[in-house]
């Protein structure tokens, strides 16, 4: 008996429960861990092995048939053909078997301590606790989510239990990181050997890690995605500044600088998230490797254009339960499509020539790893790429290519022994050697017990035994035919030559029947032994092989068939386009044209659109090759412009954790896939001003967008428009409606309108001093993005739109602006604008209001629907805005209410939602009227656009027909058909035994001014818990008040 077998037997004795012969090999062979004392005699062994006659796949590029692999202790001594085997080597004959390099999991938290979950008391409404700066003791940075000082090497501790799942899948090496925070510190690369931590470290500073998620940080800021981005951006500047200054000692910034030369790995989610991170990379000259959520196929060209490398998961979604058509309605179309297309992701990246590693991170069940790899292969991934993505690519990314990744002389002896081609469904991984240490996954060279057997013995009349599954994981069932016919599943345990089986017929007899036996002969297999029945009676049994067993219906053995899959659509959501619509030459004939110019409303007039611009307006126009649309009886207007919108932004629209957050930018968080972009096109909206919320006095920077449905976030931005910023006054800023404070001392300043003024005075005073300090030659004043934005305001390079309600505070801000030397561009909402219209006029400030909103809180008690009319009459540039995804698509009707209340002329009324907001946004030279040379943002209405009866039939943006009521009808049909097709596929998958998930569709979050995203964004998983906490707080408050 070989040495190895001796060890195995020893192991068997050591382990109490050995289910599938997973043998541990905990003995030290040759530790060379010199600093550690030894209890007893030293036991240093040579650890010399020769693996012969196997097919050695030393890398994806090289396969050696009948080769030899020589291992000495931890190192590969030689690999190749015809290698002489020196004396003193244990020979392992691998005839018919394969050797592969041990796999590398490029992303894991193996051996890392559990992260505490964020405490809930800290968040929520009612009784919010203020944590303005870090609570972490020590000379660290101000924000707990920036923790570059965290080094995985200092907390790593191998975990024999968790390493098993990885080793069974063939991994011998992993990157391990602290999965918490925005700057997460450095990671390690370790071997999965079950050895002392000192012995498994391959790279103790493998990479520096980042994400957008603040994780467990208690610091309130950031509460939004844009806050996370702003914080990271500021940290880059702070770290640069830190190098040049002597006054502050800050471990976090120091470590941040120190880790910049490591590979930089950024955990992101969907493609838009990748592009967000990539903007930061380009801004700071960084090169990130992206760990994604596996949906890159949705925007493959943009992904390729980042020029980055990727670490992708293969946690493909399970099919949904779709039997109940009513319940199935709550599954989103993109969820259906992603179920179908996610397995194509690795193949799509390969085809695009993107370099990527594959990780098992994110799999709920480690057993799905190979199923999903095979599924990816049937969906287009090549085996060669798969192997590279699991070996050489991660090895290079993580700086361990000299140690692992290929079977090469001098590298670590980390390899796996398999029954055949690693990627074939019937492959078995037998052994996983990590740094020369053996781990047996499934015993080699033992009889395969799979088969049909006939059992003989008292109590086993007409009984057969079926063993299938895999040699590592047998499945067993017992079938009794005849009068008492029944079939039941049993449990089998094998330890070497011994087997034990138990099962329960449920009746005749009821109770568990236990069999204990041994392999009496191997070819064919015969099992013999003793049986114990529920009543305690004993008998002998013999199981004789009668033939091969049918394959078990285990889903992991049947990769999802790669039949035809649907196309990728842009955006990847309902009503996405299979192709992005193009600009056309269009002639709208014989309509009523609301020019918004001095010509007024022209009847029987044509509009010609060409190259995205309005080419001509007039009678009897013609143009060769133009698509002619008959507008007889219809109306043509400029596209609707919404001055105040919160759609198409993600991760929260309020960074309300501080009273001044001018550093955050909506531009960073544009979501070009928001269905409301499309819905509002269906209401004639072509341009929207996406604002920060109103939770604080100085909010974030805003972004003007066009509704270019299907384009990328950067592509929907209104190029060349002036920068704006959101300010806010009143109840929201004071936190009036956030519930009863738990503790007056712990509230965010301000709580009164008195305090609001001082926030502005303080902020602009600091900004002026900052500007002066920065202007000094050779200044080392730290660059502060918050103050930069305020300086831009002072320099007339950034413009204010200020959420406002009552006249006192409006008056106040005009005074502050005068005294501090800045200008207010627009008062938005401005429901009491009619009370101070004369003062606004004197300051040349525009008013963007609601048509008729009031009574929803105290500060709108005197809001009147005549406000717009009065401001207009006093001579202000006046507009109506939505602040609401629903109202936005009826802004034409809201303008109509200026006719209801105050009898404004129809011509002027339409300007409230077109030309006037364009003026407020300084883009009236581009949009807002129908004039040759302006952007072809045009709506074709079925009736007078101010009328409740008007339907937007066609909406053009830059001459592109993004909304067409007729095409929409076709899209609806196609959508229903495609949903039906995918659901059929899911039903098939389920009937084949695939696990399913319950539909748990999430609704898109709709934002308005007061939306505070804090907790949902920070820990999305805890949403329910948070809602409950909020509800509990609300009830507690109600009780207190009763």
């Amino acid at each position: 008996m070989s040495l190895i077998n001796k060890f195995r037997i020893k192991s068997i004795h050591m382990k109490k429960t050995i289910l599938f012969c997973f043998l541990f090999f905990a003995l030290k062979i040759c530790d060379a861990q010199e600093t550690f004392p030894v209890n007893g005699a030293w036991d240093i062994r040579p650890g010399q092995y020769a693996f012969t006659n196997g097919t050695i796949v030393s890398s994806a590029d090289q396969t050696i048939n009948g080769g030899t692999l020589l291992v000495k202790d931890r190192i590969i001594e030689a690999v190749g053909k015809d290698i002489p085997i020196p004396k003193g080597y244990t020979v392992v004959n691998l005839q018919g078997k394969f050797i592969y390099p041990g796999l590398i999991d490029a992303y894991s938290t193996y051996g890392m301590p559990e992260q505490p979950r964020q405490a809930f008391g800290a968040g929520g409404f009612g009784g919010r606790t203020i944590v303005p700066v870090s609570t972490k003791p020590g000379a660290y940075g101000w924000n707990e989510s920036i923790k570059p000082e965290m080094n995985a090497k200092t907390v790593f501790h191998g975990d024999a239990v968790k390493s098993e799942d990885l080793k069974k899948n063939g991994f011998s090496t992993v990157q391990s990181l602290i999965h918490d925070g925005i700057a997460r510190g450095t990671s390690v690369v370790v071997s999965l050997g079950d050895e002392r931590d000192n012995l498994v470290m391959l790279n103790d500073q493998a990479a520096a890690h980042y994400s957008f998620n603040k994780g467990t940080a208690a610091t309130n800021y950031p509460s939004s995605l844009m806050g996370s981005i702003a914080l990271l951006r500021q940290t880059y500047y702070d770290a640069q500044w830190y190098k040049t200054q002597k006054g502050e000692y800050n471990i976090s910034l120091d470590e941040f600088n120190r880790t910049q030369n490591l590979p930089q790995i950024f955990e992101v989610t969907d493609p838009q998230s990748i592009l967000r991170a990539d903007k930061i990379a380009k801004e700071f000259g960084r090169h990130y490797i992206y760990k994604t959520d596996g949906q890159e196929y949705q925007r493959i060209a943009a992904i390729k254009a980042t020029g980055s490398e990727f670490i992708i998961p293969i946690n493909f979604p399970e099919p949904y339960d779709v039997e109940d058509p009513m319940d199935a309605r709550s599954i989103k179309y993109e969820q259906l499509k992603n179920w179908e297309l996610a397995p194509t992701n690795p193949g799509a990246l390969e085809k695009a020539g993107v370099k990527f590693a594959i990780t098992s991170f994110g799999l709920t069940n480690a057993r799905d790893f190979w199923t999903n790899i095979r599924s990816a292969i049937t969906s287009g991934l090549s085996e060669k790429q798969a192997l590279n993505s699991l070996t050489t690519i991660p090895a290079e990314m993580l700086g361990v290519a000299d140690k692992v990744g290929t079977l090469t002389k001098g590298k670590l002896a980390s390899f796996i022994i398999t029954s055949g081609d690693l990627f074939k469904p019937d492959n078995i991984i037998y052994e996983n050697w990590t740094e020369g240490r053996q781990y047996v996954v499934s015993k080699m060279n033992v009889a395969d017990l799979r088969g049909n057997y006939l059992i003989n013995g008292t109590g086993f009349a007409n009984t057969s035994l079926i063993i299938n599954g895999t040699p590592g994981a047998y499945e067993v069932s017992i079938k009794r035919s005849g009068v008492d016919s029944t079939r039941t599943r049993g449990t089998i345990t094998r330890a070497g030559d011994r087997v034990s089986i138990y099962f329960d017929y449920k009746k005749n007899p009821e109770g568990i029947i236990r069999l204990s036996g041994y392999i009496a002969s191997v070819s064919p297999v015969t099992l013999k032994g003793d049986a114990v029945f529920p009543d305690g009676s004993l008998s002998k049994w013999t199981a004789t092989f009668t033939g091969a067993a049918p394959p078990s219906r285990s889903p992991q053995d049947s990769p999802k068939p790669n039949a035809s899959v649907g196309p990728v659509i842009y955006p990847f959501t309902a009503f996405g386009n299979t192709e992005i619509p193009k600009s056309e030459t269009v002639l709208l004939k014989n309509g009523t044209v609301w020019t918004n110019e001095k010509d007024g409303i022209l009847k029987n007039t044509d509009v010609l659109i060409e190259n995205g611009k309005i080419k001509a307006v007039g009678k009897n126009l013609s143009s060769a090759g133009a698509k002619v649309i008959d507008a007889t009886g219809k109306h043509i207007s400029a596209g609707i412009v919404d001055e105040h919108s919160h759609i198409a932004a993600t991760g929260g629209i309020n960074e309300g954790t501080q009273s001044v957050t001018s550093e955050v930018r909506i531009a960073d968080v544009i979501d070009a896939e928001d269905i409301n972009l499309y819905r509002q096109l269906a209401g004639g909206v072509t341009t929207s001003h996406i604002l920060h919320g109103s939770a604080n006095a100085i909010g974030g920077q805003t972004q003007l967008i066009k509704h270019r449905w299907g384009m990328l976030p950067e592509e929907i931005k209104f190029a060349g428009s002036d920068g704006f910023i959101k300010f806010a006054l009143g109840e929201n800023v004071k936190g009036s409606n956030n519930g009863a404070p738990a503790n007056n001392a712990a509230l965010r300043f301000p709580q009164t309108r008195m305090g609001v003024e001082e926030v502005y005075i303080d902020a602009f005073t600091r900004a002026k001093e900052y500007k002066a300090a920065r202007a000094v030659k050779g200044s080392t004043t730290r660059r502060d993005l918050e103050l930069d934005a305020l300086v831009e305001i002072l320099d007339n390079k950034r413009f204010i739109t200020c959420h406002s309600y009552v006249q006192s505070e409006i008056n106040m801000l005009m005074h502050v602006a005068d005294s501090m030397g800045f200008r207010i561009n627009t008062f938005t909402h401005i429901l009491e604008g009619y009370k101070v219209a004369d003062k606004m006029k004197a300051h040349n400030i525009a008013g963007s209001t609601f048509s008729d909103w009031w009574a929803y809180k105290s500060e709108v008690a005197e809001a009147i629907p005549y406000n717009g009319k009065l401001m207009h009459e006093v001579g202000l540039v006046t507009g109506f805005n939505s602040d609401d995804a629903e109202m936005a698509r009826r802004l034409n009707q809201e303008a109509g209410k200026a006719v209801t209340y105050g009898h404004m002329s129809e011509e002027d009324a339409l300007k409230l939602v077109t030309l006037n907001p364009a003026k407020m946004m300084h883009v009236d030279n581009r949009i807002g009227s129908i004039k040759p040379g302006k952007d072809a943002d045009i709506v074709l209405w079925s009736a007078d656009p101010l009328s409740v009866y008007a339907v937007a039939e066609k909406t053009f943006v830059d001459g592109v027909l993004y909304w067409d009521i007729e095409k929409d009808a076709e899209k609806q049909k196609a959508l229903a058909a495609d949903e039906g097709r995918i659901i059929q596929k899911m039903l098939e998958a389920k009937s084949k035994g695939a696990a399913t998930q319950r539909p748990t569709a999430t609704r898109r979050r709709l934002y308005e001014c007061e939306s505070v995203e804090e907790d949902n964004f920070v820990v999305a998983d805890d949403y329910t818990e948070m809602e409950r906490a909020k509800e509990a707080a609300r009830q507690a408050r109600d009780r207190n008040e009763q």
Partner: protein, 438 residues
């Protein structure tokens, strides 16, 4: 001391916020007959009378027809040539008069009682005739409303009021007509939309199981209430069950808030089992179960047309099209529009459906005749027909359209009501300040 200051503050706020303008008084009873001539009369039942007349005496309509009006002695004659006459709009399911300021002034909020089962709680007594909001809604032609309690499982009972009154007693048009039930929902997308983190050792209830449990509880409650209703003289009086008696003898309807098609189905079956006259409120997915609703004569009060679809996959115009889908499905449907102050937009919410399939007169019926039928007040109002109350108004233009609505004169039970309101007064005040001639 602190408490005193707070209540004093509350009192001051109360004075400035909660009470109607002292200069807008309820109208006196109709003294003289009124004859409106030359108008386009929208009857409310789909019929339009061009160049029509309408006469009413002592609050009741005495004649409606085409051409010259019959001679009515001592009548006030209103020449409405080129103008439109409509039945007063009816706003069901509203918090008008129950809430003055939605947020930040809890003292003005009286629509949600604590507890889950409040069939005995009556909205009528909390209806504040002096709300400043009421005149702003009334001046857009909404003349009747159903102030309705919210919250819990059974929220309470509602009455119908007319919107020109000194106090709630005067206002009551039909008392305690309905009990309001929030049907338990298992729909994903609600509060428990994202999977809760499983607690080890605790079997997770699915939303469907949780909802079913609640349905079982409600069923048990109704069984007991029904048995109680059969007792002529109970030994112990249960005021909840007393309030519910009307459900079983046909004097009260059960308004069930349900949006999801499955749950609407459950609610219909439930009401049928107890022989209750039910109304579905909300009914976002009612278009999926029109056969069921029609066959069981269960009407739907649509919450709003001016809404977003629930699902990204829905027709972008689905809420606009819902009335037409119910019309085609043969279901009786009304419309509420949400909230209280926003209900001045009720005509526009109705008009919204016209661009998406409904005729203008069908849209009008939705907020007049249909709402009256659903509330059980169609014998006296909802259409302009002889014998009914003179609840009507004259608009210069199309009242369902924002560029047409312009209410010149309105009558409730024949009383010529004051159409002034806070907003008009502030408009005038500041027009004067700026010297504008409007």
């Amino acid at each position: 001391m602190k408490k005193t200051i707070l209540s004093l503050g509350g009192l001051l706020l109360g004075i400035s916020f909660s009470y109607g303008q002292a200069n807008i008084s309820p109208a006196k009873p109709q003294a003289k007959p009124v004859v409106i001539t030359g108008a386009t009369i929208h009857v409310g039942n789909g019929q339009v009378i061009n160049n029509g007349y309408i006469t009413f005496v002592k609050g009741k309509i005495t004649g409606v027809g085409e051409g010259a009006a019959p001679n009515v002695a001592d009548a006030d004659v209103i020449d409405a040539t080129g103008k439109q006459v409509y039945p007063g709009f009816i706003a069901p399911m509203t918090t008008l008069g129950l809430v003055e300021v939605e947020e930040g002034a809890r003292g003005t909020v009286d629509d949600t009682e604590t507890g889950d089962l409040n069939p005995h709680v009556r909205s009528l007594v909390a209806y504040n005739t002096d709300s400043k909001v009421i005149p702003t809604v009334r001046s857009n032609g909404i003349l009747l409303a159903q102030p309705t309690p919210n919250g819990g499982v059974i929220s309470g009972e509602s009455s119908v009021v007319q919107l020109d009154a000194w106090n709630w007693e005067d206002a009551a048009y039909k008392k305690d007509i309905a009990i309001h039930l929030n049907w338990p929902t298992a729909a994903v997308g609600g509060r428990e939309r994202r999977g809760a983190v499983p607690v080890p050792g605790v079997v997770q209830e699915t939303p469907a199981q949780r909802a079913q449990k609640k349905v079982d509880e409600i069923t048990s409650l109704f069984e007991q209430a029904k048995s109680y209703a059969e007792i002529t003289k109970p030994s112990v009086t249960n005021i909840r069950f007393e309030a519910m008696k009307g459900l079983f003898n046909g004097t009260k309807k059960l308004f069930i808030i349900a949006d999801n098609a499955k749950e609407i189905g459950q609610a219909v079956t439930f009401s049928k089992r107890f022989g209750i006259s039910a109304v579905i409120v909300g009914g976002k997915e009612s278009y999926l179960v029109t056969d069921l609703l029609r066959e069981n004569n269960v009407p739907v009060i649509i919450r709003e047309t001016q809404a977003l679809p629930d699902r990204d996959e829905d027709d972008v115009y689905l809420p606009y099209k819902l009335p037409k889908l119910l019309q085609d499905g043969g279901v009786l449907y009304g419309l509420t529009g949400t909230g209280f102050w926003r209900q001045r937009n009720l005509p526009f919410e109705a008009g919204q459906a016209v661009g998406y399939g409904l005729t203008k007169e069908q849209a009008l019926s939705m907020i007049t005749m249909n709402n009256a039928k659903i509330l059980g007040i169609d014998k006296t109002t909802g259409t302009l027909e002889t014998g009914k109350d003179a609840n009507l108004f004259i608009s210069k233009g199309d009242a369902l359209d924002m560029i047409g609505l312009d209410v010149e004169t309105a009558f409730i039970q024949g009383r010529n009501i004051n159409l002034d309101n806070l907003h008009k007064q502030l408009y005038k005040k500041f027009s004067d300040k700026y010297g504008l001639k409007l």
